[in-house]
Symmetry: C2
Amino acid sequence: MSKIEQSKIPSALPTPADISARLRAAGLRPTRQRCSLAALLFGQGDRHVSAETLHEEAVRAGVRVSLATIYNTLHQFQQSGLLRELAIEGHRSYFDTNISNHNHFYIEHRGELVDIPGDHVRVDGLPTPPEGMRISHIDVVVRLVKI
Amino acid sequence: MSKIEQSKIPSALPTPADISARLRAAGLRPTRQRCSLAALLFGQGDRHVSAETLHEEAVRAGVRVSLATIYNTLHQFQQSGLLRELAIEGHRSYFDTNISNHNHFYIEHRGELVDIPGDHVRVDGLPTPPEGMRISHIDVVVRLVKI
DNA sequence: CTGTGTGCAAACTCTTTGCATAAGT
DNA sequence: ACTTATGCAAAGAGTTTGCACACAG
């Protein structure tokens, strides 16, 4: 992996300008906190975070941000389509930085969430939705247990 | 629908004895509260309940039971395989009395959950699970929005 | 400057827990 | 009798809110 290759990877670390532009495009003012959080979220490939884990990470990274702002930001990002909220039972909300169609393993005894690699999962045989509604998204969660 | 037919429907209202037996088979002592809740849950076909809705229903039905007991009972029933907990994002837990393989519509703007009729949904192309784990169950949630 | 965003702490919701009482076997 | 279940109220987690201050445009 030469320097040249590195610089050409499409999802290389976004620059502060990239992040500002992305927030602005989503209709959000690029404040210090939002930029820092966006850098954490979108600078390292696909991620699953809860408010708690993102807050810890921000604090560890030296970003001064309150938990309330983490919650606000996660919901704003979700409503702007930058994040997707995941359907996992339990007390805590998870958000996924990968907003394309993909699915998850949920490792029950660890409470851990893992992307299903590849794009091979297909769902067939769905009935037509009830009158006046359309499918916005299909969540497939494959629950795993220890053998 | 003659009386004879009625009495022959396999999933007709379970008798108190049926319910006791079912609880006993699940390793649970058939107490008054558990029997009442089981009657509500399993006496009316497939249902989706939260602790709150089941509690309201019990109170309306004249069953004296505390919310703490509702929670205990729902979890005991789930661990005994009488109920399945549903994977819906959000603050509140839902339980399903239909423990066979089936899937759900989730009507986002109403927060409402509906069984997908029939047994036609198929999920293909799943990768093999990671080492040391097996698939316990696959949840498919089809999210619907108003057109 | 003006309006939006942020931090803090308090409020709120859903859920769990501890312990005395009640009920099942 | 002995054991397990229940009710109550209080505690606990996660999340949201209200308002004064700070920051971006």
